[in-house]
């Protein structure tokens, strides 16, 4: 069942079109992450869903009801903001119970629900404190508590973890997902952090320039990015992208001559354009590249090595400008300046049309 639907949704601020026709259906109980770089329109889409901004064109539906003209309080949604947006003059308890108070719920009912939410989030004992007396992590929990107390149909998250330190962010990320599962809620989560999106979401929607680039389960986006933007955006370290031309096809294999020198063999997945004319971009994930001194196909020189303990990122240069990153779990003993050869399995090479950016 569709809980939140977008049909041809556009948003203009003056002459600038920020959303250029969004079509998306968020299913009931689904956790959808909207990701993209700054200015891609993800937060605007969330604000349209919340009713904080008006839709310029198209339809937003919530639980089957057209919500375009509904004020925020009638949409049965709750939102967690990046800055938490707690009311500084209210105690934690009053912050959490404010929405219920505005709905004129009985005081006893409010107290009981606030207490229950506080217990869930480990905030009991803090209910009489003011937000300024709390740590960043506690404030974040209060913001979550304020949302869950209302038991809304849809949770909207606007980069709620970006003000937390790295360790707390990982911890809270898990809690957010657990909470979502426990409440059986529908969640739309905006983030620019693709790791957060990958770990949290049932489905990721990658946006760029006001347009949905690709929507799908995290691993589908990772394994089969639809276009160059998604290929470059999803994955850390980002996919290595190398310009080249298709030289020829041998059965199921395509031979790609790289502009920088060297070549790659890619598995053919469709019917590519005639050999020699096809300008492509070959994408290879860092973990799919293997250090292979026998290989003459990809020759490069080590620039720097990042040791992470469980793996190492080897940053190398092909030719004089093309950067390439290789992830390896071996203790290689490489040093900057060392010459290395790389190889990759043909089925791990992604090919994109250079002109359109689409996957071949």
């Amino acid at each position: 069942m569709v809980m939140v639907g977008y049909e041809g949704v556009r948003k203009r601020f003056g002459s600038v079109e920020v959303l250029k026709g969004i079509d998306l259906a968020v299913q009931s109980g689904e956790f959808v992450a909207l990701v993209g770089p700054s200015g891609c329109g993800k937060s605007t889409l969330l604000r349209l869903t919340a009713g904080l901004d008006a839709v310029s064109d198209g339809r937003v539906t919530i639980d089957g009801r057209i919500a375009n003209d509904l004020p925020p309080q009638e949409r049965d949604i709750a939102m967690v903001f990046q800055s938490y947006a707690l009311y500084p003059h209210m105690t934690v308890g009053n912050n959490m119970g404010f929405a219920l108070k505005m709905r004129k719920q009985p005081a006893a009912d409010i107290a009981q629900r606030v207490q229950a939410a506080a217990l869930t989030l480990g905030l009991d004992g803090l209910l009489d404190r003011l937000p300024k007396e709390l740590s960043g992590g506690q404030r974040q929990r209060v913001a979550m508590g304020r949302a869950i107390v209302r038991a809304p149909k849809v949770f909207l998250f606007d980069e709620p973890l970006s003000n937390l330190d790295a360790k707390l962010r990982v911890h809270t990320r898990i809690e957010v997902r657990e909470l979502h599962d426990r409440l059986g809620a529908t969640s739309i989560y905006v983030t620019h952090d693709q790791v957060e999106a990958m770990t949290l979401a049932d489905r990721i929607v990658v946006m760029h320039d006001g347009v949905i680039q690709q929507a799908g389960p995290p691993l589908a986006l990772y394994d089969r990015p639809d276009n160059l933007f998604v290929a470059g955006f999803i994955g850390s370290p980002p996919m290595n992208l190398l310009d080249g031309r298709i030289e020829g096809q041998d059965g199921n294999s395509l031979r790609v001559a790289l502009d920088i020198g060297g070549h790659l063999v890619a598995a053919a997945s469709g019917g590519p354009a005639p050999a020699g004319t096809n300008a492509v971009v070959a994408g290879v994930r860092a973990e799919d590249l293997r250090l292979d001194n026998e290989s003459t196909a990809l020759q490069c020189r080590v620039r720097a090595i990042e040791q992470l303990g469980h793996e190492s990122h080897v940053h190398a240069l092909m030719g004089s400008t093309t950067r390439i990153c290789v992830t390896t779990r071996e203790r290689t003993g490489l040093r900057p300046g060392d010459a290395i050869g790389l190889s990759v399995a043909p089925e791990r090479v992604h090919l994109f049309d250079r002109a359109s950016g689409r996957r071949l």
Binding site: R47, L52, M79, F81, A99, M102, R146
Partner: protein, 277 residues
Amino acid sequence: MASFASAGLRLAGRGVVFGYTLLILAPFVWIALSSFKSQIQILTNAMVFEPVLDNYIELLFSKSASFHRNIANSLVVAAASTVLALAIAASAAFTLVRLPLPNWLRAAVFSWALLFHMLPTITFVGPWYVMLNSVGLSNGYVGLVLANVTHHLPMALWIVAAFMRDIPEEILDAARIDGCDERSSFMRIVLPLVMPGLAAAGALVFLFSWNDFIVALNLTAAATRTAPVAIATFAQEHDVKYGEMAAGAMLTTLPALLLLLLGQRLIVRGLLSGAVK
């Protein structure tokens, strides 16, 4: 050499501070001392004297005493002006800062307020008198309060608006999602958050209304005369009652001084809001 120069500068700086303090304090001390002197002692400029309370007694408890009524008038006018100015300033600032309005309109209102505040008060006194007189309000509290509010509203508006701009947009977004319309987010969220600004603006409006002489002189009659105007009446054609004047000035200063001491931090914060984060 350098340390000599900087020591000299520091000394000069202190000299300026002490000199300025003296400049402000000396007349005040003179008035305070005069209020405890007899008329003869004042006129002979006696430096050594036995303090007497005659001036205060004459001012407050003599048969013809009306100064307590003047103080009460001042209190009524200043308090009413403050409440009214704050109510208008807060709702106007909310409308101008937080509601969707064309930018030119916002700029026009704030610029006009600033310009109005820069014009000398005396410019308005004549027109106000004519206007209020024509509707029969020239001798009562209402006319004076309206004039004070008009006069001090721009300052209050600027101060409260600066505080309102500091409220993060997301807090008001959260309030809308929690079920607030514009009225309830103003009452429940915005007003409590700009309370320091309201206190600062309120203290200033109160002080300016309390101290106002020129407007009150023209818009009050004997029954509604405020303290500063009453003090001026002690200087008569054949007799200047220096002692009562000084005692009146002291009594008038006290509430203002008290308010200033209590609200000083808020006033400074109010005036600096927007300038420093």
